[in-house]
């Protein structure tokens, strides 16, 4: 065969080798460390940051807003209105993390000194972190936090320009962030928030929301309690009320307590909106795991031995059948990375080496192959026998 001529054809390999060596000889020996792509990533996703509390204020009778700035004085990362942050709490021997929707707007994180805020309601006995935030957090306290997590935000390539937000109680927080961003001209949508509360002095962030002046933001309070003199909407947020505030093409975003999700799913079915127009924030850690279908109720009062492998190290701890693996680990002071605590984000992906677990069906966000090999998201998995797991070293 012939391409260009015998001699040229048969010397190809040595020709290209010489060319390569020559290119290197002519190259600079100065280390080129620049990676501008990684620089952008650092500004969007810097990982866990040291944060300092710079303000604590009442968000209503039963909730507080906590403001954080970056401890090192650098700029806070970008995020989308509606996203949450994960905060680490070191309480006694335990390291516990919690996700909280950011209630301040993205633009506020980047302007001036920059801050992010969360707004947390005092619990009715089931959330000692919520009470800790309301009772004990003060200006100057320091926390580690991961800012800008989750998929609950308006996406221009997917969502309608008219958004009806359905908020229940402290579920207002992601929408408060969105409302501020819209009012500042940074988010190009018309936002109507249907905001359900029990009584008017229970409305989280009411003053702040009422102060938002924008013809693209409308806040409609809906009170379920029997309050004399209330002029606004009453009852629950039903399909009728939702229809009243909808445009022909509307995206519905829902955030609130778990009971509200079950109610809303039924109401939204009456609207005939396509599936792509309905977006729920994650469900949260299941309030009572024994109430879910298929849960082995006969094991509910059992406690199991949980062997935890990290590298070649092993610990044995106790794990209650009604508490997720994450809670058992945190209680024992073993660090595990968590995000949404709803089985979605996968931060707490864990291998079950032996033994069995129950996975909360509302919160099973696993990959198919992971299921085949016994991986679980530890925030949504509950022990049903003695078991051995392997988790990353933190």
């Amino acid at each position: 065969m012939k391409i260009k001529g015998f001699l040229k054809d048969v010397t190809g390999a040595s020709r290209v080798t010489k060319a390569r060596l020559a290119a290197f000889e002519n190259a600079s020996p100065v280390p080129e460390k620049n990676d501008p792509i990684a620089d952008v990533v650092r500004e969007w996703h810097p990982g866990k940051l040291d944060l300092v509390v710079t303000e604590v204020r009442d968000a209503c009778r039963t909730a507080k807003t906590v403001r954080f700035e970056r401890a090192d004085g650098k700029k806070l990362p970008f995020f989308y209105a509606g996203q949450y942050m994960v905060l680490d709490f070191e309480i006694g021997e335990s390291v516990i993390s919690r996700p909280y929707s950011i209630s301040s707007a993205p633009y506020q994180a980047r302007e001036g000194r920059g801050f992010v805020e969360i707004t947390v309601r005092r619990s009715k006995g089931d959330g000692f972190i919520a009470d800790f935030i309301n009772d004990s957090v003060k200006v100057g306290d320091r926390f580690r936090g991961l800012i800008g997590c989750g998929q609950f935000y308006w996406e221009s390539l997917r969502d309608a320009g008219h958004v009806v937000a359905l908020a229940g109680g402290v579920g207002i927080t992601p929408f408060a962030s969105m409302a501020k961003e819209v009012a500042d001209g940074k988010l190009p949508i018309d936002l109507t928030i249907l905001y359900g509360s029990v009584s008017s002095d229970d409305i989280v962030m009411k003053q702040e929301l009422d102060a938002i002046k924008s013809d693209r933001v409308h806040i409609v309070h809906v009170l379920s309690g029997d309050e004399p003199g209330w002029q606004g909407e009453r009852g629950f947020i039903t399909a009728d009320i939702i229809r009243k505030y909808s445009a022909p093409d509307t995206t519905y975003m829902i955030c609130g307590p778990q009971a509200m999700y079950r109610f809303m799913r039924e109401e939204l079915k009456k609207l005939d909106a396509p599936a792509r127009r309905i977006r729920f924030e994650v469900f949260g850690q299941a309030k009572d795991i024994t109430s879910f279908p298929g849960y082995p109720k006969e094991l509910a009062d059992k406690t199991f031995n949980l062997t935890v492998r990290r590298g070649i190290h092993e610990d044995v701890i106790q794990a209650k059948a009604t508490e997720s693996l994450v809670v058992a680990l945190e209680r024992a002071g073993i660090r595990i990375e968590t995000g949404c605590r709803s089985g979605e984000c996968g931060f707490c992906r864990t291998k079950v080496v032996s033994g069995s677990v129950y996975v909360c069906p509302e919160n099973d966000g696993r990959r198919a192959a992971d299921r085949d090999f016994g991986y679980v998201h530890a925030c949504a998995a509950y022990p049903t026998s003695d078991l051995t797991i392997k988790i990353p070293i933190e």
């Binding site: 065969m1 391409i3 260009k4 040229k8 054809d9 048969v10 010397t11 190809g12 390999a13 290209v16 080798t17 060319a19 390569r20 060596l21 020559a22 290119a23 290197f24 000889e25 002519n26 190259a27 600079s28 020996p29 100065v30 280390p31 080129e32 990676d35 501008p36 792509i37 990684a38 620089d39 952008v40 990533v41 500004e43 969007w44 996703h45 970008f78 998929q151 996406e155 221009s156 390539l157 997917r158 599936a275 792509r276 590298g311 070649i312 190290h313 990375e337 996968g346 992906r349 966000g365 696993r366 990959r367 198919a368 192959a369 992971d370 085949d372 090999f373 990353p392 070293i393 933190e394």
Partner: protein, 509 residues
């Protein structure tokens, strides 16, 4: 608390396809291996994610070098040999080529492919088949020579086509076949899988590309590329490999010109006889070697003398209709305003509008992969890093949405269906996304460009002289075989082989 052993035979930095292939091969030979992966799952970009309850492929379009069950190619055979049992699905077509004046779907099999081109450009069957057969001959030589090296004189007799085409670009060899432009265009679409225009791309690489993909077809795992990555990791662990996730390696420890361990971001110092790095040589030689004085000047000249190849930008959607209702009719569509690969390569240096789009509808290869009544559809461009290096953090979101919208709008116009009216889920992957999850240098997924100045044959010739630090090997897209998920297995095996060979040599001394 002690999380690591005092000593390992080999530490592998990075638990993606290359690193896991190294680990499998070393474990198979009884070596004590530690894999450190910075993310919390294996695979790097060979992975999947879940949105709205639907699992979505992150990166894999189609795997090369797998072959059918009774006629495995080298990567498929390696998986079989290692006991990594993957549910492979055969991709039903090579590609649908779409450029002005041409709409045709071509299928694998050299003769069938040539025949289908002949139907579009009559009278080209013999020439096209001759070209494809030449590719196949070169491909066979590459495979054989990678196992049985031989003298140049012997090579000229036994592997004449390989030797005589080695010094030429794809354009130079293709020109000798005197094909009409349209036939050449139909032979061009796969160029994007190797990332250099035909005026630069070594014909050797083109040969391997065409012989492998067209000759044998391509495959995807049933449960996305995460199935492949996870099964490799699980098998490696079953063979005794220790894999630790969420462990980023910051430093490679070197003394007297020889690597002896690593230090992680967490602060663990771990010792081993050998280190295999999936981190780019650029990163290793500029900021990972400790002490920096152990980096020879030649290593810096080498990384500065190479050109980074392509990165990736994908907009991946779950659409709320079956594919056919949206006029999406193919697994794989390559669409361009021309099929001039050099023009495309220029276009990829910018930030769009991009002119050469690669689309995948996984449902045609994996029918049950999305819920009833929906389909998965992605549009990908593989830009050079140049344009993306100019994007500032504050503009990033705007740029990524602008580019994503261009890709969706272009394909909507092509299908005559506004895809934006059907988006159930959408994810935009950018060079920044790649960097975020894998730490790849400049977000580059393709390693170094295949050019005549950085030819694979030259890489092989100079490989020994470029092992600048003893007991430190590299595996990943930046290694000899370059980009692609299939080649990562080959790159990983090569690094493991270097380690095993060195072990044997040193034991013999």
């Amino acid at each position: 608390m002690k999380f690591y052993k005092d000593h390992y035979d080999v530490i592998v930095i990075g638990g993606a396809l290359a690193g896991l292939s190294s680990a499998l091969m070393l474990a198979d030979k009884g070596k004590d291996v530690l894999v450190l992966e910075r993310h919390n799952l294996p695979g790097g970009i060979a992975t999947s994610f879940v949105r709205g309850g639907i699992e979505i492929e992150a990166a894999l379009h189609e795997m090369m070098s797998i072959g059918s069950k009774d006629n495995r190619l080298k990567v498929g055979k390696f998986f079989d040999d290692m006991g990594v049992d993957i549910d492979w699905l055969k991709v039903p077509e090579a590609y649908h080529a779409s450029f002005p004046g041409v709409e045709v779907t071509l299928h694998p099999g050299l003769e069938r492919f040539a025949k289908e081109i002949d139907e579009v450009v009559p009278g080209t069957y013999d020439k096209v088949l001759r070209l494809l057969n030449l590719c196949n001959t070169v491909f066979d030589s590459v495979n054989e020579l990678s196992i049985h090296p031989m003298s140049k004189a012997k090579m000229l007799i036994k592997h004449e086509a390989f030797v005589k085409t080695a010094g030429y670009t794809t354009a130079e060899v293709m020109d000798t076949f005197d094909l009409p432009q349209k036939a050449k265009d139909l032979l061009a679409p796969y160029w994007i899988y190797v990332g250099s225009g035909f005026s630069e791309l070594p014909f050797t690489i083109y040969s391997v590309l065409m012989a492998d993909y067209v000759g044998y077809g391509s495959y995807i795992p049933l449960k996305f590329s995460h199935e492949m990555s996870l099964k490799m990791a699980e098998r490696a662990e079953a063979m005794g490999v220790q894999i630790e996730y969420r462990q980023q390696v910051d430093k490679i420890l070197v003394k007297d010109g020889r690597a002896y361990g690593v230090r992680t971001a967490r602060g663990d110092e771990i010792h081993a006889d050998y280190v295999i790095s999936s981190a780019y040589p650029n990163k290793v030689y500029t900021s990972m070697i400790e002490p920096a004085s152990e980096v020879p000047e030649k290593a810096l000249r080498m990384v500065n003398g190479r050109r980074l190849s392509l990165t990736a930008f994908s907009v991946i959607m779950i659409l709320d209709r079956p594919a056919q209702e949206l006029n999406i009719r193919d697994y794989s569509i390559f669409r361009g305003d021309t099929m001039d690969t050099d023009a495309h390569y220029e276009n990829l240096a910018g930030l769009g509008p991009y002119k050469y789009l690669t689309c995948i509808c996984h449902n045609y290869g994996n029918p049950g992969c999305t819920p009833e009544g929906t389909c998965s559809f992605s549009v990908t461009v593989l830009p050079r890093v140049d344009g993306w290096k100019t994007v500032k953090a504050e503009d990033y979101d705007e740029v990524k949405h602008r580019v994503a919208k261009q890709l969706i709008d272009d394909m909507s116009a092509y299908f005559g269906t506004n895809l934006l009216d059907h988006v159930l889920e959408v994810v935009i992957e950018t060079p920044m996304t790649v960097n975020r999850y894998t730490n790849a240098w400049n977000g580059c997924i393709y390693g170094y460009a295949h050019t005549m100045e950085d030819h694979i044959i030259a890489r092989l010739q100079t490989a020994e002289a470029e092992r600048f630090i003893r007991h430190l090997e590299f595996s990943g897209a930046h290694a000899i075989s370059g980009d692609g998920m299939g080649p990562q297995v080959t790159n990983g095996r090569k690094a493991a082989k270097n380690v095993l060979d060195t072990m044997a040599e040193e034991a013999a001394k």
